[in-house]
């Protein structure tokens, strides 16, 4: 286990370095810059603005500056007037945002990540609640009308993009039933619709995975043995069948969580939720180099650690699985 974690940690560093390097240069190779606006700046002013953030340096120097606490400026790290743009990501400083200039990238992530996580949690709650119950019911009532309709719903859930679902939800729950707020942020009620819309495709997928898993388990001999022993069907289901039946779901939870966290951008826009997803897209559009890098790094860390956690959880749930030494 410790060896497994050590290896993962090592690969983590390699992955992160690759992500940082590739995104840094990719980002800079795109046309347009953070200070381009529909009003062109006077050349002197543009030059000053670029100098403040070291955008006038050669790219390799900017890269090194971005990575670590290095002294590259002839005046030291200080850019002449007593301020330094940032200390480098190795010190945990992701720098100032180029677009939202009153905030550092750390501030912005600090404000938005908990919100995305709350939204993701509600989405995950919906996904598991709906996915597991419909999946288990579907498997038990295999071939029945309920099974067919739930499978249809699951297919629809996978096929429909979440913003379409969001549209229907808004029309239904906001304008017809007038039950929930249309958008915004501040209370749990604000999270119900976006959480549902965000979780729906995942619920659908979980439902299908559960159904398949359950059907497979239900046909296993140990289940037949359990029935033969005279255990009540409920006990067989809850104690023996579900444990094996939802294993595929567990392995899907990692990617699903990552998907929910990184895939929330459209939902965040539609429901005006100030999460990280919006920054992921907007920072790239704004050429907000530091923020784009910050969010990319954040997502890399999240996805990587979630996958590691899922691998650990897998062995936890199924003793037959061991952590591969490869």
């Amino acid at each position: 286990m410790i060896g497994f974690l050590a290896r993962r940690a090592l690969w983590f560093v390699v992955t992160l370095l690759a992500v940082v390097t590739v995104s840094f240069f990719l980002m800079r190779s795109v046309r347009g810059g953070p200070f381009d606006a529909d009003r062109n700046l006077h050349p002197v002013i543009e030059k000053n603005l670029k100098a403040r953030y070291h955008l006038d340096w050669p790219l390799w120097k900017q890269y090194l500056q971005y990575i670590g606490p290095l002294n590259l400026d002839e005046k030291g790290l200080v850019d002449g007037d007593g301020s330094k743009p940032w200390a480098g990501i190795l010190t945990g400083d992701f720098g100032p945002s180029f677009k939202y200039r009153d905030f550092t990238v750390n501030d912005i992530i600090g404000q938005s990540l908990p919100i995305s996580m709350a939204l993701g949690s509600v989405a995950m709650f919906w996904a598991l609640l709906l996915g597991l119950t419909t999946g288990v019911l579907s498997a038990l009532l295999r071939g029945g009308k309920l099974d067919v309709s739930m499978r249809l719903a699951a297919t629809a859930g996978i096929a429909l993009p979440n913003f379409v679902i969001a549209g229907f939800l808004v029309i239904g729950f906001v304008f017809w039933l007038e039950l929930l707020p249309v958008a915004g942020w501040g209370s749990l009620r604000h999270l119900i619709l976006p959480g549902f819309a965000l979780g729906a495709p995942f619920a659908a997928y979980i439902s299908r995975l559960t159904r398949t898993g359950m059907l497979e388990v239900l046909s296993q001999e140990y289940i037949r043995t359990a029935h033969a022993k005279g255990l009540r069907p409920r006990t067989v289901l809850l104690r023996h069948a579900i444990k094996g039946g939802i294993l595929p779901v567990v392995s899907y939870l990692g990617p699903a969580t990552a998907g929910i966290l990184t895939g929330s951008l459209v939902i965040e826009k539609i429901f005006a939720i100030p999460g990280t997803g919006t920054h992921f897209v907007n920072s790239a559009l704004n050429r907000d180099y530091t923020l784009a890098m910050g969010v990319t790094i954040l997502y890399t860390v999240l996805v990587y650690s979630l996958n590691t956690i899922v691998d650990l959880a897998y062995t936890f749930l199924d003793p037959r699985i061991e952590l591969e030494e490869a």
Partner: protein, 620 residues
Amino acid sequence: MDPRRRTRAGFAARRQLAAVVLFGVLLVAAVRATLSARLERADFTYVNGGEVTSLDPATVTGTPEGKMIYSIFEGLVIKHPRTLEPIPGMAERWEISDDGLTYTFHLRKGAVWTNLDDTFQEEVTAHDFVYTYQRFLHPETAAAYAYAMWYVEGARAYTTELDEAGQPLHDFDETVGVRALDRYTLEMVLASPTSYFLHLLTFYPLFPVNRTNLESARERWPDDWRIQWLKPENIITNGPYKVLERRVNDRIRLVKNEHYWDADNVAFETVDALATENYFTMLNLYLTGEVDWIDRLATNAVPQLISTDAFNPEPYLSTYFYRVNTTRPPTDDARVRRALALAIPRREICDKIMKAGQLPTWSLVPPMEGYEGAEMRHAPFVEEGSSGEGDDYETAFAADCAEAQRLLAEAGYGPDNPFPTIEIHYNTSEAHRDIAEVIGSVWKRVLGIKVKLLNQEWKVYLDTQKQLTYQVSRAGWIGDYPDPNTYVDLFVTGGENNKTGWGNARYDELVRAAAVELDPEARLGILYEAEQLLLEELPILPIYSYVDQNVVAPRLGGFYPNLQDTHMPKFWYWMDDEELDAKRAAYADELTLSDPHGPPQGLYSAAQQRERAARGAGTR
């Protein structure tokens, strides 16, 4: 059952239970953590359309930023909410010398700087303005609108003439025409008489900042003072509102500044500015009463709202046009540009695509008071009624198209020499695409030109314009101040915002002459001549002039449509039912009454309440 196995099974079950509980706790904790900071509904909530770049007046350029700065800072003069004429702000009164060069401002006594918790209180003085303008002009500040101050003597040189280290060559106090004569008197000397200089001073970039605020931040946070001085808990302001809280991409909560000199006339205690950008989300927020004002509308939502009393689009100082690349063929030929300009179905674009009352234009300068703009030559028509029936626009447009065909033939294009494919370049947006499609189809039908559309994401689009690698490119320009110069000035040879490659010595000369002309009539005459010259050569193809898109709660008082679409919360209040009914009774045309928003009993400022009590109003 083997007891050992039972224990193992039990252990596994407990582990699973523990995992589920842990997961559940995490979910709840994540949700709870973010919900703790809930704010009550503000007295007034509006959509600001995007997170603000900064609260530093000197460095920002956008509309959302402007709205914030108009709320928390106050300049020497401010805009009248309806007419936009400069009215007293920090300056109680002012004098302008006969030669139009020297402005003397007399500051009001008792106007103060304060911070959020009122631990800082200091009078606003003339020295604050000297400091502000020096900072504004200093190259290190990198103020995007620095040119707005370059009308002041020595200001341009101070910003642009630098030594090797990038510091100004000139001494500010000695060379720049800004001086504090005493604590309450500020003198500004201009390089040339500028009739709209006061208007410029009502513009938010020229609003003052507090020296102590910046200097103490610099001392306390040498590394990131640029961020620290603007934090709600650190910023020192002099306007009607203070920033209570900033949540990135969510909202800015403003609270009334009780120490503001005119606080007696400020009605709303709290105002929320939401950062929402999505057009449909903001419309939904308005329709469900969560916000009381949105300032933009998707074109396909216009027809439903145009008949209600919440949406009354009014002309707005802004022109929609196409830039033409004059540096390469075929558009380097003025005849070609004229042909393209004539064959634009302007009325169709306004009526069928934009639908909110936008006006077809053949001018660069949008309609403004006191200036009758020049028009490019085109077949005249008589407009009858606003519906477009019974007038001869179609005949005129047909004549224009025929003239366009003639011009192309004259330029040498015809069956033997077909016109090359032309590309219309625009930034990604449905309305821009629709307009480009309609224009492209007419050019194809009338002129036989093949048209390709090229849409680019905003920053790439800007870069393409800057590099002059387009042929025809969509553009819009919002005037900075209500004077034709804000448009005419754009197209001087080599101007930063020219972006067409066009240049004309006579034009440059006219723009320069207008800048030093003392007689207002004569000055406008010169600008007219320049505009006419531009419209003869047509480096731009005018299309329509904008209307504002405000959807605003009918109950809101003190909010007026105006040419610059500038609105300041210090003037706003909620009308009570009585006043609302009176307002509605006065509607000229048939408007559907929509949800008025706001409290039925209204919300008035202290001064209004006294005045109403004296009148016996609001007792119904």
